[in-house]
């Protein structure tokens, strides 16, 4: 069941909300909690009921292991807890590896040994990457003494809670499970419902209006490139730029919807995106993009590997390994691995640059305006270049698009410029129009991409709007972008809600469902 579907919006959600609050009693939260848990299992099983068993077994196993480990807190932890932790992590990763990486492994081994082997028809359980990481976090925290034994009902709900189950955010048990224990958790709150609905529809609008429109252009370029079609400079940039915007609005839109849905049930989820394309460097980018994943990678991979505590060389290696695995987590393909590795390299370069500037006596926390502009542009170009690998069907396609972006396949200008700029023809420029092969009206495309770009680069993000933070604090921001339960906002969001309901018929999955 997709969030952006009639069945979810008009059947599932109203029924679950109604039942949840009808059953909610401050003195006894059990009935409402069970209702929410059952609904979440129905939500998951709607996609494929066969994998419900996998989810349930995963929850039972991790809860049991976590409880056993967390019963002792340091320094009293007896010997034997570490093997149990290792067992827990290995079993989790085994299932993730089996479902996600078996065929990738077979393909690469057979390619290496130049042999043939049939691939297995393995269906990837929805959300397995997310609920696996969520529970590994719990096990490690239990080992570190940062998790107490939780009641099974609350733990199960924490893992299965439908707003985050299939595509994150990757939650922290320490901040979520205590909310289930709050007496007011099951009581209807109009403020939460108002904010939650607003966030939900803002997210849906981002998906329907922006992400899906960008997808049209990105798909055109990348699918054609995969078939061998070569695009000129502007066309290749159209593809890369539109995918950059598509994945941002798609994933951040989904996260907004997840956060909004959770809030309707009085649960506060962490922020997952915070205007990542406004980042001034790659380090900043990873503090704004898929924040819950980057925190997980930092706290459970980078820091345990040694972080920056063992010298520069080791730090760079740790960064590379962390991002390499981060790329692999996204998908079983070398394109994802290269995307992750590129970010590992970018981070290493960024850290090196910061160190150099510090040694030269610069204030790395503050830069001049031209400096900030330049670093934003460099960061954005690097991120866009890496996204090409993320989106491309294979390495060949990625390089084909990148070559187009570099102008190697030619730069085609508007036909009208031919007469007035003969010198450009001498320099090898073509005059077949900006998008001769793409076949989409350049003016329409430019309009949509420009609007999306302005929103991504300069507009306040959803969290700033709802929480009255950041740019909304300016006088202009206060007037236009600060959300409040006013009639104006109600009408605006109401019209937006109608619009997004209309867009439901163009059902398209969220990109991150495939992870």
């Amino acid at each position: 069941m997709l969030f952006n579907s009639y069945s979810f919006l008009f059947v599932f959600l109203p029924i679950v909300l109604g039942l949840f609050f009808a059953l909610g009693r401050p003195g006894d939260r059990r009935a409402a909690t069970v209702c929410l848990l059952a609904s979440s299992l129905v939500f998951y099983g709607w996609w494929n009921y066969r994998f419900l068993l996998l989810l349930v077994v995963s929850i039972l196993f991790n809860w049991f292991v976590g409880e056993t480990i967390s019963k002792r807190t340091p320094p009293e932890r007896p010997a034997g807890q570490k093997p149990l932790l290792v067992l827990g992590i290995v079993v989790n990763l085994f299932f993730l590896g089996y479902f996600k990486y078996t065929n990738f492994f077979i393909q690469n081994v057979t390619a290496f040994f130049n042999t043939r082997s049939p691939l297995y028809d393995i269906i990837l359980p929805l959300g397995i990457s997310f609920f696996t990481f969520t529970q590994i976090k719990y096990l490690v925290d239990a080992y570190r003494g940062q998790a107490k034994p939780y009641p099974f009902l609350q733990y199960s709900l924490f893992v299965t809670f439908f707003p985050h189950l299939v595509a994150g955010p990757i939650l922290d048990h320490k901040s979520i499970i205590p909310q289930f224990a709050d007496k007011k958790f099951v009581l209807f709150r109009a403020d939460h419902m108002a904010k939650g609905l607003t966030l939900f529809f803002l997210g849906l609008l981002k998906k329907a209006l922006l992400a899906d429109q960008m997808a049209i252009y990105a798909t055109n370029v990348f699918d054609a490139s995969a078939m061998g079609v070569i695009f000129t400079f502007f066309e290749a940039w159209v593809g890369a730029l539109s995918y950059t915007l598509q994945i941002y609005f798609d994933f951040s839109g989904y996260s907004d919807m997840a956060i909004g849905l959770a809030l309707m049930f009085n649960i506060k989820f962490p922020i997952n995106f915070f205007s990542p394309y406004k980042a001034v460097n790659v380090i900043d980018f990873w503090r704004r993009w898929h924040i819950t994943l980057s925190h997980f990678l930092r706290d459970y991979l980078y820091i345990p590997l040694g972080g920056n505590r063992k010298g520069v060389v080791r730090q760079n290696l740790n960064l590379f390994v962390t991002m390499f695995l981060g790329g692999l987590w996204h998908g079983a393909a070398w394109t994802f691995v290269i995307w992750g590795s590129l970010h590992g390299v970018f981070l290493a370069i960024n850290h090196g640059w910061r160190s150099l500037r510090q040694r030269l006596g610069h204030d790395v926390e503050h830069s001049s305006r031209p400096g900030r502009f330049l670093s934003r542009m460099v960061t954005l170009v690097a991120v866009i270049g890496a996204w090409v690998f993320f989106r491309a069907a294979d390495l060949e396609t990625a390089f084909r698009v990148l070559k187009g972006m570099a102008g190697i396949h030619g730069v085609s200008l508007p036909r009208g410029m031919a007469e007035n700029s003969p010198f450009l023809a001498k320099w090898g420029f073509l005059f077949n129009g900006l998008t001769p092969t793409l076949g989409i009206s350049p003016s329409t495309m430019t309009f949509y991409i420009s609007v999306a770009l302005v929103i991504a680069l300069f507009g306040p993000n959803t969290m700033e709007i709802i929480n009255n933070d950041g740019p909304t604090r300016s006088p202009v921001g206060e007037k236009f972008f600060h959300w409040r339960p006013s009639p104006r906002w109600a009408v605006l969001i109401g019209v937006g809600a109608a619009f997004s309901v209309m867009a439901l018929s163009q059902v398209s999955e969220f990109i991150y469902f495939q992870f």
């Binding site: 108002a194 077949n432 109600a490 109401g494 309901v501 867009a503």
Partner: protein
């Protein structure tokens, strides 16, 4: 009243009213011809719906069927019968069969133009459903697409633009697209792209050959005269096709099958109608309406 409760009430009222208003507009304008309310003309690509409906009311005794290529032909210019042009985009044999089964009544003659690309099951998956088009009430009332098309219909109608599809079924060619092709780099690039789409990894559809047999059987059973031809493709596209061995082999197979199923079919694949100037400057796929008339004249002459 609690401001948040008031907010929720206003939000839901606004959403409901907005949806109702848009639904009312879509119902009244009826761009997809679902509610039989359309009085402004067809400005949306709803050929399948329009033709399934219009064929029942338009006076005719013969039908022309095929893809978008034949959709541009003016049926009023065609000889011997009063044709209705029932062609629609990407009409594969199973779509044509479905259309005939659902809509054939008193027609005396059926003329079918076929295209090789519709036999590539990889690019054009076989339509297993018993539907020519999806007819979803909620979607036609409340979808973004329906609303966009309603506004487009209203706008184009009041600007005085001609509808996309005439009463006789002819698709109105785009006014921006009228120049003859003279070849050139852009044209060649488009041909390459189209050839790649149509002919690469060609998977010849045996199921569609069965559909052709079913079409023949249906028409013979009902005593309806019929003729089949293979549409011409422009000479550049033919050159490109030859560079895809699988597609070329499939073309030869298709010709053999057509000879067997429809003896006397007319093969115009590479013919005098493949001249570049008979196609549009920005569109290597579609020949011009007057060329279509010449094609039908030749095919019908052969049927005497």
């Amino acid at each position: 009243m609690n401001p948040f409760v008031r907010y929720l009430t206003t939000l839901s009222t606004t959403a409901t009213l907005s949806l109702s208003l848009l639904g009312a507009i879509n119902w009244r304008v009826d761009p997809f011809l679902i509610f039989e309310n359309n009085r402004l003309g067809v400005y949306s690509w709803v050929e399948r719906q329009f033709k399934s409906s219009a064929i029942k009311t338009y006076q005719h005794d013969a039908v022309l069927l095929g893809t978008s290529k034949t959709a541009l032909i003016n049926p009023d210019d065609l000889p011997m019968f009063k044709f209705f042009n029932a062609s629609f985009s990407s009409a594969a044999p199973e779509d044509i069969l479905l259309f005939l089964k659902q809509n054939l009544t008193q027609e005396k003659f059926v003329l079918i133009g076929l295209d090789l690309f519709t036999f590539n099951e990889k690019a054009y998956p076989y339509n297993d459903s018993n539907e020519l088009y999806r007819d979803d009430l909620l979607e036609n009332l409340f979808s973004l697409n329906a609303s966009k098309e309603s506004l487009r219909t209203l706008g184009l109608h009041f600007l005085g633009r001609p509808p996309l599809i005439q009463e006789n079924g002819q698709r109105h060619p785009s006014p921006d697209n009228d120049e003859d092709s003279k070849g050139g780099e852009v044209f060649d690039a488009r041909v390459d792209r189209i050839a790649h789409k149509y002919y690469s990894s060609f998977t010849f559809s045996e199921k569609r050959i069965v559909a052709l047999q079913d079409i023949r059987d249906l028409l013979e059973k009902r005593g309806v005269g019929h003729k089949v031809f293979l549409n011409p493709i422009n000479e550049k596209e033919y050159e490109a096709l030859l560079s895809y061995p699988q597609a070329h082999t499939s073309l030869l197979t298709l010709k053999k099958e057509l000879s067997r199923i429809f003896p006397g079919y007319v093969d115009l694949t590479l013919s005098r109608y493949s001249k570049l100037s008979y196609y549009y400057k920005d569109d290597p796929v579609h020949y011009k309406p007057h060329v279509g008339k010449w094609i039908v004249d030749e095919v019908m002459k052969n049927s005497l």
